[in-house]
Symmetry: D2
Subunit: 144 residues, 4 copies
Amino acid sequence: MPDRTPTRDFTLIVRYAETDAQGVVHHANYLTWFEEGRSEFLRQQGCFYSDMERDGFFVIVAKATVEYRAPSFYEDRITIATTLQRGRGRLLEFSYKATNQDGVLVAEGQTRHLVLDAERRMVSIPEKYQKLINRIEKLVPFGG
Amino acid sequence: MPDRTPTRDFTLIVRYAETDAQGVVHHANYLTWFEEGRSEFLRQQGCFYSDMERDGFFVIVAKATVEYRAPSFYEDRITIATTLQRGRGRLLEFSYKATNQDGVLVAEGQTRHLVLDAERRMVSIPEKYQKLINRIEKLVPFGG
Amino acid sequence: MPDRTPTRDFTLIVRYAETDAQGVVHHANYLTWFEEGRSEFLRQQGCFYSDMERDGFFVIVAKATVEYRAPSFYEDRITIATTLQRGRGRLLEFSYKATNQDGVLVAEGQTRHLVLDAERRMVSIPEKYQKLINRIEKLVPFGG
Amino acid sequence: MPDRTPTRDFTLIVRYAETDAQGVVHHANYLTWFEEGRSEFLRQQGCFYSDMERDGFFVIVAKATVEYRAPSFYEDRITIATTLQRGRGRLLEFSYKATNQDGVLVAEGQTRHLVLDAERRMVSIPEKYQKLINRIEKLVPFGG
């Protein structure tokens, strides 16, 4: 039986290249981590984003917000908990919480996405992917 | 006479490494561009951030928001207009508008910053830098 | 009259995001700088790589070597001198010297490139681009 | 009993941010992957590089070479096999082979490293770390 809750975890080890001269992770990397959080979320939902692009659909980022709570360091073990907040019609929204190996919340954020077709026109989430998203229980009332 | 308006421009040419498989600039790079926008803003104000770090002060990012309006492409000429929105006490806030060579707004955003001392404790903007910031006229009423 | 020497300069200011926890520029960024060095080389030669891709040709990197001579720091002014070493048939080769604002050589390297068509098959440098490359005088005997 | 062979594996899933407009992984990322290959190598050897920096030693990259054999794509599963080639005196050398989920060699390379102390002076590999390296059997004759 598939997981029907709207949150999935993705864990990474901080790379040296992700640090900056302050000795901590550079703030732009959290957007990349969040992106991999939602990639992993979709993979666990049976939805490979690389397939979606092969089908001629592109998910773009329309808005992103990050709040930085504590620094992360090289070799930290960071878990990104990604929650699908909305996934109906033309809009996808995710939220993220990044915590380190000591359970400290290091950052949280939200992203809003639109779906484009091969001509970069805005479209609704393709049916095949909408079905996979609909398996997530908590989201049913959300879009109502 | 120094420029006393609160907005400064910084222009860059999009690098190939900044693009992604969608053929457009990856969304995380805008945070890096905004950062260079405020670096250049501070440099034009006589304030080199590298000096600030040598003085033992670190400006960290507490929050960042980006709204993506249009895609950017390799070799586009992007101008980041950086505006100091607040620079008093413990808080620095900047806003950004990124436009391409055709005048199209590609992204806009805001960042909020805190100042830390060498022990990573929150402090007020050091006097030497506060003075440089105070030269910007439009900000005087803002902090009132 | 076009510049017929095989070396062109490209200058950049080191970004904060390019530094790492050692306080210096992370070594992977030099490959990105070299790439922008050759982008600028080609632009000065009247050859926009973005046009080349629109024409259905892709220049890929087959081999890259970097030797690191001295560290670079945030806000350093780095000049990349890019030299076309070979540009005939199926092979393009460039060499690079990166020096900082004090004239210190910080890194040097070479890259070798192949040209692919839209189906990712190896092809010769397209005639239109070969002509632009042939304007560089010193290269004429090189390929002989 | 510790692993005494000189090769260790590290596996990663390609991130979207690592791709470029050619639809493949941008070539500079392989240096970052190799770096994480050797980070993981050292971790499996009981040697955390973050500890080393806390002890006041910095391993820098003196030279890097990458040969690109085949493209990598978003969501590919890449294994970096990192081999310690030399680890004695002032010199560390590693070689790398990156293969994808189908066993295709996508890139290989070498890096040469020097050890610096807190004042950025070249020093020999600190004894504590030399001991950990010496556990690798095949390397004993190498430095002879």
